[in-house]
Symmetry: C2
Subunit: 373 residues, 2 copies
Amino acid sequence: MTTHEKKKTGGLAGIVAGDSAICLCSADDENLLYRGYSINDLASHTSFEDVAWLLLRGQLPNPTELADYKKRLRSMRDIPATLKSILELIPSTASMMDVLRTACSALGTMEPETTSTPPFAIADRLIACFPSMLFYWFHYHKSGKKLVLDSGEDTVAGQILHLLHVIPPKEEHRRALDVSLILYAEHEFNASTFTVRTIASTLSDFYSAICGGIGALRGPLHGGANEWAMALLEKFSTPAEAEKGIKQMLSDKKLIMGFGHRVYTTSDPRSAIIKKWAQKLSQTAADGFLFPIAEQIEKIMWQEKHLFPNLDFYSALTYHFSHIPTPMFTPLFIMSRITGWSAHLLEQRANNKLIRPLSNYIGPNHKAWGPQA
Amino acid sequence: MTTHEKKKTGGLAGIVAGDSAICLCSADDENLLYRGYSINDLASHTSFEDVAWLLLRGQLPNPTELADYKKRLRSMRDIPATLKSILELIPSTASMMDVLRTACSALGTMEPETTSTPPFAIADRLIACFPSMLFYWFHYHKSGKKLVLDSGEDTVAGQILHLLHVIPPKEEHRRALDVSLILYAEHEFNASTFTVRTIASTLSDFYSAICGGIGALRGPLHGGANEWAMALLEKFSTPAEAEKGIKQMLSDKKLIMGFGHRVYTTSDPRSAIIKKWAQKLSQTAADGFLFPIAEQIEKIMWQEKHLFPNLDFYSALTYHFSHIPTPMFTPLFIMSRITGWSAHLLEQRANNKLIRPLSNYIGPNHKAWGPQA
C-alpha cells in the first residue's frame, strides 16, 4: 500500500461502510433527508415525536398514531427506584455524559433486552426516560430534591425544559428545542452512529450499542462541539473583540469548534434553520451582543478559512437563550440522537455482517525470543 | 457503485482502517505477533503482566520493572465504597457483561480522566480492578458476602481464581488462565478494538471507549462465542453423539460458534496453544468425555466445512476444567483484552483522525411535503 493510499483511508474518510435507507446527507446539493423528507420540511411542519416515529418506523405517523405515540412515551417516563438510588450515588461532580452513559448501562441490568423484547420497545423507553435520568440526578445533587418524573408536558422538548427549570416552559423555548431535537436526530454514519452499528454487528444487546454511542458522542470532535462553541462565544464581549480573537486563534492554528463538516463542503443545511431560532430567541432574551458576536465569527471563519458553521454553532446559542446550562448541551444531543442510533441499530440487525476492518501493520518485524535485559 | 463493489465493503471486510504497530495478525503464515513477539514465545515464556506491559509500553519489562508492575497492579485492586454500593444495587439476575459495563462507566464518574491523568493510569487501574468489580458483585448477590478485594495473589490470573473460589488456586489452573489471558489480550482491529478506537477518535475519555469495547465484546459473533462454544460442548455425552449432532446442525445451516475467523484461513495460531492446556487440565479433572467430544467436533468441522477451531473453542474447555462458570467466560475476556484496547486507544490518540465513514444510500428519493393520511 502506498503512502498516498494509506492517507486516503485514514479515519475511513470517503470509505463506504455499508448501505442505509435512513438518511441522505448530500454534499452535492447540501441537503439532508430523513427517510426521504427534507430537513427543512421536517423542521417547519413536524414535531420531534413525528421524526422519532419516522426514523424508527420508516414513515410519518398519522394524527392518531402521533397522539398514541406521545401518550406511550409519556407513560414510559418513570425509572426504577433502584436506578434512582444509583443516580443518587453518582457523584455530583460527574460529567453529565458519564451520568447518562452509566444510567443507560444500569437500566440494561434492570430491564434487559430479551428475545421477546419488541423491536422498538427499548428505543421508545430511552427516548422517554433519558431526560428523567439526567434531571433526577441533577436536582438531587443540586438541592436534594427527588424529582417527580412526569412533568405533565406532552412533548419530549416540553418535558426536558419543564424538568430542568421545574416550571412550564415558554412555547417559544419549547419549540426551539423541539426543532433542535429534529435537527440533531440523525446524520448517517457519523462516529457515534457508526459505533452503535459496530457494536450491534456483534449481535450484542441494545443498551451496549447505545452506551457506545453516548461514549463516542461525548468527544469534542463530535457531540461535545456544541459545548466548546458556547465556551468560545462567551470569551468575547463585542463583535470587534471576536474578530480579533478568532484571527489570533487561527494564526495560532487552534481548532475552532462548530465549523466545517466531514461530509458537507459549503454549508450545513441545518445551520440556517437553527440560526433563525437563535436570532428569534436573542430578541426576546434582549441579548444585545451574543448573536452579533456569533455572526461576526461566522463571517471571519468564511473569509479566512472558507469554513461554515455546522449545526453545533447556533444550537449552542439557541440553548443558551433557553437558559440551558452549557454542560447539558451534549446530553440533549443524546436525547435526540437516540432516535437515529436506534434506527441504525435495527437496520444493522436486519441485514447484519460483523464490522471488522483490517489494520496496516507498521510495527517491528518478528523478534527472536531471548531473555530481557 | 456496483453491487459487487458494495458486497466487498460489507462489514468493512478487507478494508484497511488505519495503521497500527501493536499487533500483526497474519493470514499468510497463520502467525500472531504482539509488538513483534510471536504468540508462541509469549505463551511459553511470559506472564500476562509481561504482556500487559509489552502491549502498553511497547517493550517487555525487565525483571525489576515486572516486579514493580505486579506490585502496582496489586495496589490498585480496591474499588470506591460508592462503587461497591452500586454493585450491590445491580440486580443479581444481570448479565455479567452488563455488570462490568456499568461498573466501568460508574468508575468513570468517580475517578474521571483529566488532562493531568498519566497515559497508562486508567489502563492499569482497570486491569487491576475489573476482577474486583465482577467478584464483589458475584459474591454479594450469591451469599451476601462483601468480598475483600486483595486476595494476596501476586498475578491477575491468581487474583481472578482466588476471588472466584475464595481459596488459593491450583498452580496448574492459575497458569492455564494466565496463558489464556495472554492469548486473549490483543487481536488487531477486531470489532471491540475498532469500537474503542472509533470512540477514542472523537477525543472522548478513556472509560467511554472501554465501555464501548465491552459492549461490542458482549455479542455472540465476538467475545460471546466462548460461552456459546461451551453450551455446544455440553449438549453431547459421547464423540459419536457429537458427530451426529454437529452434522445435523450443519445440514440445518445452524451457526456453530468457536470455528473459523475473519482473518485466518487455515488455522488460528492461538488454538493449538490453548488446546494443549485443555487436554492437560482434562487429565487432572479426570474428564473422560468432554475433551474427546471437542476433538471430534474439531474433526467434523474440518471434514465438512474446512473450518478450524478459533481461540474460543478450547478456551471454553480450559475455563470449564478450572471450575469457572460459563457466564464468566466473556467477562474474563474483558479482563485480558483491556490491555489491547488500552494500547489501541493510546495509539489512536497519538495520531488521531476522526473515524467517520460514509453510507451508501438506498432509501427513498426526496419526497415532496404533504399532509399525512
